[in-house]
Amino acid sequence: MTDSSTFSSGGADSAAADDAARAAACELDAVVVEIESRLSVWAQEAGAALAALDGKVSGTAVDKLIRPVVEELVRTPEGYAAGAGFLANAGLLGPERSYIAWWQGTEMEHVDALANFSPNAISRYVRAEWFRIPVETGQPHVTGPYVDFLCTDENVLTFTHPVFCRPDGPVAGIVGMDVTVQRLERGAVPALRRIGDRATLVNQDGRAIVSAASDIDAGDLAVAAEGCRVFGVGRRFSIWSGAAGI
């Protein structure tokens, strides 16, 4: 977490308030960092396991590899994942072919499974930000908050991470996790209140995810209040100690 504080504090009271704000921001950062690191560990393990299949990658093999991890993620008590899975890039199972192994909810509902029988399913995903960006950049990404029509029909953040079978190889696919804004809000609002009554968690575009201010909703574009403190949260989010909706 980085704190690019823009004002210097005076007096013992404001120093204590500073510490409380920093502690609260650390708490939120820890939540997001844990999600991101779980995903990068998973991406590495999945890459190694796919490489071990030695070019004989089938849908069944992918399911067998991915399902147990998803099960663990969505069934973790107090966990953050509403759904999770793997999406193959063209080339892994065949040219111009995709494959989706994604489940959601503790009931492990298989998402978009019909697409696996379609020869042109890849066209469904190539434009989606959560797939396109990690594939194009080779870097992890977070999409949202957005309404996810493909899976949850909820307001979510989708964390995705590219999977490589060889360090220098092409992107074999992505692993990802959906976290509903609702789930995040529960823990985040009390922490944000400790930072300020208009403290707001925003994504890289300045779009609000959760705010302590009741007039800023998830999905609203926001601006940082002048001279406010900025705390980094995970790879791409920030907390502004004060914000206004636009």
Partner: protein
């Protein structure tokens, strides 16, 4: 006290109305029909067998078998026996003018205009929210759904519903998006009819451009007016056609 002085409230009465849930079989059929309409599954394509279908959708083999037989009797799929046999998506399964006219004839004027009003109510709130929350990437995606005026009626119908769905996506309200999807399902193939009329397509294309412009320029009131007039153009067309056929 359970009853208000005026008697039981209407919302309380709704609790006791029987739940007409679509059975699992209908659900599976609906998914496949939807996959055909959106081009994910195409005519002549082989469907997975009962066991594969059951495991992909997480239903029992019995449910999958019943669904396949229901799809067969409604002419969505055809089954070929023998070694190279299996179930295939039938030819001419796409929404047809005949089927749309049948649907129109079954409706009353009141049903058509009421459906139009409901659609307007939901879509216009989406539009005004979208105008508040849009960013440049949102507007690019939205514009990509505006079809060429000479595109065929089927792609026009799909593009119109995708355009409004994208407006809901930009609005980032999960409930409104879900309601819009439900309304589009209620409209069924009806919207195919006006899309065959060049005059309707020209008028709609202008409205789509204007609406995208208002959403881009963060003009909630104009965006709302645009979407309302798009839907009333459709409703008036359908009502005129309905009147002509009686």
């Amino acid at each position: 006290m359970l009853l208000s002085p005026q008697g039981a409230s209407r919302s309380l009465a709704a609790v006791f109305t029987p739940i007409k849930s679509r059975g699992l079989v209908d659900e599976v059929c609906g998914r496949i029909e939807q996959a055909v309409e959106t081009g994910l599954l195409t005519s002549g394509q082989r469907l997975p067998n009962e066991t594969e279908l059951a495991s992909a959708l997480g239903v029992s083999a019995v449910t999958a078998r019943e669904a396949l037989s229901q799809l067969r009797s409604s002419g969505i799929i055809r089954t070929v026996r023998g070694r190279s046999g299996g179930s295939f998506i039938a030819d001419n399964v796409l929404p047809s003018r005949e089927r749309a006219l049948e649907q129109l004839d079954e409706l009353t004027r009141l049903q058509i205009s009421d459906l139009g009003l409901h659609y307007q109510a939901i879509a216009s709130v989406c539009a005004s929210l979208a105008a508040r929350r849009s960013d440049a990437a949102d507007v690019d995606t939205l514009r990509s759904f505006i079809p060429a005026t000479d595109a065929d009626p089927l792609s026009w119908r799909l593009a119109l519903s995708e355009f409004l769905l994208e407006v809901a996506a930009i609005a980032r309200s999960a409930r409104l998006a879900r309601e819009l999807i439900r309304l589009q399902a209620d409209l069924g193939t009806l919207t195919l009819l006006p899309c065959a009329d060049a005059g309707y397509r020209n008028a709609s294309a202008r409205i789509l451009e204007q609406t995208a412009g208002s959403i881009e320029a963060h003009q909630p009131a104009e965006a709302e007016t645009g979407v309302k007039s798009l839907i009333s153009t459709t409703t008036s067309w359908l009502l005129a056609e309905h009147a002509r056929r009686i």
